[in-house]
């Protein structure tokens, strides 16, 4: 069986059985990760590979397949605990791992299900696809909040296409999630270029860097890349804490959206306290508790001179006063912020998100402003997407890719949806706002084509959600 969709659905169906036992989608994918990894490590020790085992014998796949009942549960638990202490990929994958499948009979069935397939023999693309399929399913489970880590693949492809990464360039995603941006960039380079051995080696081991603050997500990311044959350098830490020192040719990322502008910490008496996350960094232009602004400032630091960045950011980064204005002014002056793609609503799992992709290049120090024109592409006005019925497709982004003209972006053509705004014009706008629209919104104007109630209801929900989001942020600040 090589049809990846069939395997995904097989594995996924079994998840529904476990759901009745209170195992969430996220937990399930995590358990699969552990078991799949053990299985493949086991396959590598056999012919035709005959490699040295990387998993200690005491905790290998064979041990699990021979056991039953409580003995299986105990063995699995010990396996997780002990492998977490190992170094390298093994340690990252098993860090803080726990068994979430309490019923040994169900654990046994899952092991049998995995045992019946030869995973290592599957083509790399197919293995990766299976795992990606599971991650996507997990992302669709919005209740678990997993969706916030998931950027639509069509959008990632378009971003990578216009950023146009080349062999021997380093690429970093400081909010890597499950590794979507890095994977697509890997695909792009390996398909577009005929790589020599050195370039291949560089692509496999020295090209990709990432970070994510959530342990579990880093695990999924490392596994995802591992299954695609990439040895990525992914670390599980808060990117924003300090300047890591390393610089990259390309930064592509979708930092997590809003809502978590503060974290909950527990004081000595065990009472929950809310604490604003403020990062004091000498390399930042300003100190703020706004997470997206901090990510933007982090990216400007880790980008190499003449490096290129594409960052997905919510609207408030474009209009917010105070710290936001300061960051926009500096970005326009010290960097070449050449393009903004205004994304449509209904493409993210988080509801009511209005987002943009900011494209900017890092430049050497200069007296004058590097940004001359900001080209804005409006993919939002009068465009309606939903997650289920009318999803964003790559073809929806083709006109943007063409308009961006990455081969020679100084020869762009103005169009109905694509317009340049000069530095001088933007600087004069109230709070240097980049929140710019020029198209007439048909859902608000009296035209002959009145949209259907469901489309309008979607838009109302989005607007209310957005209004709510802003108020929540204010509330969050006032109550800390």
């Amino acid at each position: 069986m090589t049809d990846s969709a069939t395997i995904v659905s097989k594995l996924w169906n079994y998840c529904n059985v476990l759901r009745d036992d209170g195992v969430s989608y996220g937990d399930y994918v995590e358990q699969l990760t552990y078991l799949l990894f053990l299985k493949m490590a086991d396959e590598q020790t056999k012919p035709p590979f005959n490699r040295e085992a990387i998993v200690p014998d005491k905790y290998n796949w064979q041990k699990l397949t021979t056991l039953d009942g409580d003995a299986l549960e105990v063995q699995y638990r010990h396996t997780l605990e002990n492998l977490a202490k190992e170094e390298g990929t093994l340690g990252i994958i098993f860090r803080k791992s726990q068994n979430k499948i309490q019923d040994p009979a169900k654990l046994k069935r899952l092991i049998t299900l995995i045992e019946s397939e030869t995973w290592i023999g599957l083509d790399i693309d197919i293995k990766g696809e299976i795992y990606e399929g599971l991650l996507q399913k997990n992302a669709e489970d919005t209740k678990s909040g997993a969706g916030q880590y998931f950027t639509p693949r069509a959008l990632i492809k378009a971003i990578v296409e216009v950023i146009n990464p080349k062999p021997s360039e380093t690429i970093c995603d400081p909010a890597s999630g499950t590794g979507g941006f890095l994977l697509v960039a890997h695909d792009y380079i390996s398909h577009k270029y005929d790589l020599d051995i050195d370039q291949k080696k560089f692509l496999k081991s020295n090209t990709f860097f990432g970070n994510d603050i959530v342990d579990g997500v880093v695990r999924l990311c490392v596994m995802n890349l591992y299954l695609h044959g990439i040895e990525a350098n992914i670390s599980a830490e808060d990117s924003l804490v300090s300047d890591p020192g390393k610089r990259y040719n390309i930064v592509i990322t979708n930092p997590p959206f809003g809502k978590k502008s503060s974290i909950t910490v527990f004081n000595g008496e065990g009472k929950a306290e809310k604490e604003s996350l403020v990062y004091e960094r000498p390399d930042f232009w300003t100190t703020t508790s706004n997470k997206q602004l901090n990510f933007l400032q982090h990216i400007k630091t880790i980008l190499d001179i003449n490096g290129r960045a594409a960052v997905v950011l919510p609207d408030n980064v474009l209009f917010e006063g105070g710290a936001g204005e300061k960051v926009r002014k500096e970005l326009l002056k010290q960097f070449d912020l050449h393009t903004i793609l205004r994304l449509p609503t209904g493409i993210f799992y988080a509801q009511g998100v209005k987002a943009n992709v900011l494209f900017f290049d890092k430049k050497p120090a200069s007296e004058t402003n590097w940004t001359k024109n900001v080209w804005i592409y409006d993919l939002r006005t009068n465009i309606h997407f939903t997650l289920k019925t009318n999803t964003l497709k790559y073809s929806d982004l083709e006109d943007f890719i063409k308009s961006f003209n990455s081969a020679n972006r100084f020869e762009r053509k103005e169009s109905e949806r694509f317009k340049p705004f000069t530095y001088e014009d933007i600087i004069k706008r109230d709070k240097t706002s980049l929140d710019i629209f020029w198209l007439k919104d048909e859902s608000l104007e009296d035209t002959d084509n009145l949209p259907d109630p469901d489309i309008l209801a979607d838009e109302i929900a989005d607007s209310l959600e957005l209004a709510l989001e802003q108020i929540r942020e204010i509330q969050n600040f006032l109550t800390t």
Partner: protein, 446 residues
């Protein structure tokens, strides 16, 4: 809030209370020269140049033949605050900061306030002005004439202001701006929702009369409105003089009680004396439709339905009462008459003079109405109502919350000027020390 309240405000101990004149480099009236609006000469500020706390360059005047000296003296500088000291009570104390996007001269009827940048940030002072304006400080010190009030310059100069350390002022301003832009974005979205709801209501009606809510699959027939009407009658004439709002006589519905959305409001009813015979003839009952036959071009043709009666009510002669036969659900017809499609057809039969437009029965009755069976009509009305009632509720909530956002704005400002919005930093030079230093420097310059 009055000046007395300001005296008793409690601040952190690194702050001081101080009169405005100590904070300023300059405060004065503008250039009083004849202005033109035909773009001849140099742009100059006018009262209406300040709108929404910004300078509106589309609303400036122009002055010709100025000397170079005058231009130099009255040119606004970066960070100057324009203050509306003569205006109606609700606009009194409006301000805008000049950011030098385009050159502008300072004209009359606005005060120019130029801060001493060594002591106070102009954005900080401007935010305090905003709080003072909304909490009534300016009205409390103004002189009031019939249509406008004015603030005497010396009274303004002696008004008390909170003065935090300079660094803290910047932190406060930055935080206020951050919060206010979020608030503005929220208000914009809420206002947007109000527009979207209008469209949503129209879209629901459109879908309804395209048969999309009809699960019965019954056949729709096309009638003329006239065919369906059992009885129609224009209302009773009573002049404005004969109407009272003292509950004397019988309640009398007028065209402004009929909404654009098919409703009839029973608020603000007036009363008229009528004979028993008249009363019987014009009395309304539930499910009667009222059609507005004469009004402005835009409003004529409004149609509403009486859903409940609180008392005996009759109606005015600009309204036509319409009753239908048994096979017609009147609410179904009203919704249809409120739909964009029906309105577009009605547009074609409006007769208008310069002041008033009319729709006559002979033109209205031939217009087309689509209807399925009476049972299906009833179900469709229910489908429409379940959707529209949700829209109404949302709109009500939005209106309430738009008011709340204004309150929130003021309360954020208040918190800011009590020193509670951002933390104090012990390394900041206390305001008193700063002021002492600046005073000494001023002495030396003299």
């Amino acid at each position: 809030m009055t000046n007395k309240d300001l005296e008793s405000l409690n601040f952190p101990n690194t702050w001081i209370k101080i009169t405005l004149n100590e904070l300023l480099e300059l405060i004065r009236n503008g250039l009083s020269r004849k202005q033109n609006k035909s773009n001849i000469g140099i742009p100059v500020s006018r009262i209406e140049t300040i709108s929404n706390e910004l300078i509106n360059y589309e609303k400036v005047g122009f002055i010709e033949n100025l000397t170079e000296e005058e231009v130099k003296k009255y040119s606004l500088q970066y960070g100057d605050i324009l203050f509306s000291n003569i205006n109606s009570d609700s606009h009194l104390g409006k301000t805008a900061i000049f950011f030098n996007h385009q050159p502008l001269l300072h004209g009359m009827n606005l005060l120019l306030i130029r801060v001493d940048k060594n002591i106070i940030s102009f954005s900080f002072l401007n935010s305090v002005f905003q709080l003072y304006r909304f909490s009534g400080v300016f009205i409390s010190i103004a002189q009031h004439a019939v249509n406008q009030s004015s603030i005497n310059q010396s009274k303004l100069n002696n008004l008390l202001f909170p003065l935090p350390p300079l660094n803290e002022q910047h932190r406060i301003v930055e935080k206020i701006e951050e919060l206010f832009t979020k608030l503005d974005a929220s208000v914009t979205e809420l206002k947007n929702v109000k527009k979207q709801l209008k469209r949503y209501r129209q879209s629901v009606l459109k879908s309804a009369f395209e048969g999309k809510f009809d699960s019965s699959k019954s056949k729709w027939n096309i009638y003329t409105l006239g065919e369906l009407i059992l009885e129609s009658q224009l209302g009773l004439v009573r002049s404005k003089r004969e109407q009272n709002n003292l509950h004397q006589g019988t309640a009398y519905i007028k065209m402004n009680n009929v909404g654009m959305d098919g409703s009839v409001s029973l608020n603000n009813l007036v009363y008229v004396e009528v004979s028993n015979e008249e009363k019987n003839k014009y009395l309304l009952k539930e499910s009667d439709i009222l059609f507005n036959t004469r009004n402005s071009l835009e409003l004529v043709g409004k149609t509403g339905i009486i859903t409940r009666l609180s008392e005996e009510i009759i109606y005015n002669n600009n309204l036509m009462r319409i009753r239908f036969g048994e096979n017609i659900n009147p609410q179904f017809i009203v919704y249809q008459m409120c739909s964009l499609e029906f309105r577009a057809n009605m547009e074609l039969v409006k007769k208008s003079t310069t002041n008033v437009a009319a729709i006559y029965a002979k033109d209205l009755f031939p217009l087309k109405i689509k209807a399925p069976s009476i049972d299906a009509q009833k179900l469709i009305v229910e489908e429409i109502e379940s959707r529209l009632s949700v829209a109404d509720k949302i709109e009500e909530e939005i209106d309430k919350n738009l008011k709340r956002t204004e309150q929130l704005r003021q309360s954020i400002l208040k918190k800011a000027f009590e020193g509670k919005l951002v933390p104090q930093d012990p390394n900041d030079e206390p305001a008193e020390k700063l002021l002492e230093r600046i005073r000494k420097e001023r002495e030396l310059k003299k």
